[in-house]
């Protein structure tokens, strides 16, 4: 049935209605941030679609891991065994250093560092919106993921959790234009802010004074200020530092240490008690007491 005379509201009315709805959504989502909990539910709602979209890639990786030759496996095995030996040796030293550090800290009467819990997650889909750098991982509120949780890969800081769904969650990367990490130069402890540039291989450091001692190749690690990221994890390596003295500030760029463009397995760190956004609000007292020692460290 194809009516010659159309029924219902005209396209113009529909367009006006719909644009009005969009304007309201944009206002409330961006300016008021009143969709934080709704976002969680929406994320859970669309996660089946994300898991489905990810299946071709998973089939390919499954095939490629199952079709390796014996020789390849053997050589890999050998490599891992050597690696393990190295790590064992380093771990032995680490235990000793930790004890020594704790002892020294107790002598100085500064609070001991709390143990950091870790969780492994896998990337399920890479965001294709060119205006923001985000990825989706296969862990959600059900696994104890919370908003603002720091995310690492094997080499360094990757980003933090932005929205949490029940079975998946969204990570904002350090290179996103709206993200910044407090860092310090490992060589001399100089504090900086590493802001994302929107380019996958560049972080920008604004307002660095001319007197700052910073050279190309310096490693930047998290400073622990701001309370989001724990102290001492590598973030980026300085790739460019201009010495043009006519400018007010030094122009400093750096390249993330983590392989932002080829992420697969990630590590989620948690210092405080996980707080489920889908759980009733009674839990609020738990995290507050858990944060306290952290605050002392930053003071």
């Amino acid at each position: 049935m194809n009516p010659i005379f159309k029924h219902g509201p005209s396209p113009q009315h529909r367009l006006v209605l719909v644009l009005f709805c969009s304007a309201l959504l944009i206002f409330f989502d961006h300016k008021m941030a009143s969709f934080e909990s709704v976002r969680g539910y929406l994320q859970s709602l669309v996660s089946p679609l994300q898991y489905l979209a990810n299946t071709p890639k998973q089939l390919m990786t499954w095939a490629s891991t199952n079709l390796t030759t014996r020789r390849q496996l053997m050589s890999e095995n050998q490599k891992y065994r050597l690696n393990e030996l190295n790590f064992h040796e380093e771990a032995m030293q680490l235990v000793m250093l930790k004890q020594e550090n704790d002892r020294l800290r107790s002598l100085l009467a500064s609070p001991l560092r709390s143990e950091i819990k870790k969780m492994v997650a896998e990337v399920i889909s890479v965001d294709s919106d060119p205006y923001s750098h985000q990825i989706v991982i296969n862990r959600g509120a059900g696994d104890g993921v919370y908003e603002g949780q720091p995310v690492l890969d094997a080499l360094g800081i990757v980003g933090q959790i932005l929205h949490v769904g029940q079975t998946s969650s969204r990570v904002i990367l350090i290179t996103d234009i709206s993200h910044a990490v407090p860092v310090r130069v490992q060589r001399n402890g100089l504090r900086l802010l590493a802001a994302g540039s929107g380019q996958i291989d560049r972080l920008i450091h604004n307002f660095v004074p001319q007197s700052a001692d910073i050279i190309t190749g310096d490693l930047l690690v998290t400073s622990g200020l701001g309370g989001k990221y724990p102290e001492g994890y590598p973030v980026a390596r300085v790739s460019f530092a201009s010495n043009d003295e006519s400018r007010e500030f030094v122009r400093v760029f750096s390249t993330p240490v983590a392989q932002i463009d080829r992420l697969r397995y990630l590590l989620l760190l948690s210092e405080k008690e996980p707080q489920n956004i889908f759980a009733p609000k009674i839990q609020e007292k738990g995290p507050l007491t858990a944060i306290k020692p952290q605050e002392k460290v930053t003071n």
Binding site: R14, S22, L49, A53, Q134, I177
Partner: protein, 159 residues
């Protein structure tokens, strides 16, 4: 909406949504065509009584959730491009396939520019020409999508 095999329309739209978030290598990702827009455009041209601006807005909203952008941005841009198609569907139907492809290209460019302007207004993004690369792939893809979807429509006799 679901009478006369209308569920197939929904199915094609879901596949388009999936294709637009499927993980791809970084170099190919810049050229990802606007799957949802192209499928919506076909259905709007073929069956303007079934698929309209409201459908387009809902699909754009889902895209916003999937891509993690500010809610309403892709929805508004999608609704605007589809509005132009709905208003002129009688004319565009009579054009040859490559003329249609060019019009689709212009509308895809409008879609990307509206998204960019809104994002520019909300967060300070800078314009890169790579944001418009999908327009090229969308133009090239249109004839294939058109014939495929027409086959689907006739096969399932969706009216």
């Amino acid at each position: 909406m679901f009478a006369n095999n209308g569920i197939i329309i929904l199915f094609t739209l879901l596949i388009a949504l999936m294709a637009s978030i499927m993980p791809m290598p970084l170099n190919a990702d810049v050229f990802r065509p606007d799957w949802v827009l192209i499928v919506l455009m076909y259905w709007c041209m073929a069956l303007p009584g079934r698929v309209n601006i409201i459908t387009a807005w809902v699909m754009g909203f889902l895209l916003d959730v999937l891509l993690g952008s500010v809610l309403g941005v892709h929805a508004a841009a999608m609704a605007m491009s589809i509005y132009i198609i709905v208003e002129n569907h009688q004319k565009i139907r009579n054009f040859s396939i490559w003329q249609q492809a060019l019009i689709i290209g212009v509308l895809a460019a409008l879609y990307h520019l509206v998204v960019f302007w809104l994002q520019r207004f909300l967060i300070d993004v800078v314009f890169l020409t790579s944001y418009l690369y999908p327009v090229i792939t969308t133009i090239v893809l249109w004839p294939w999508v058109f014939y495929l979807l027409r086959k689907v429509r006739r096969n399932f006799s969706i009216k």
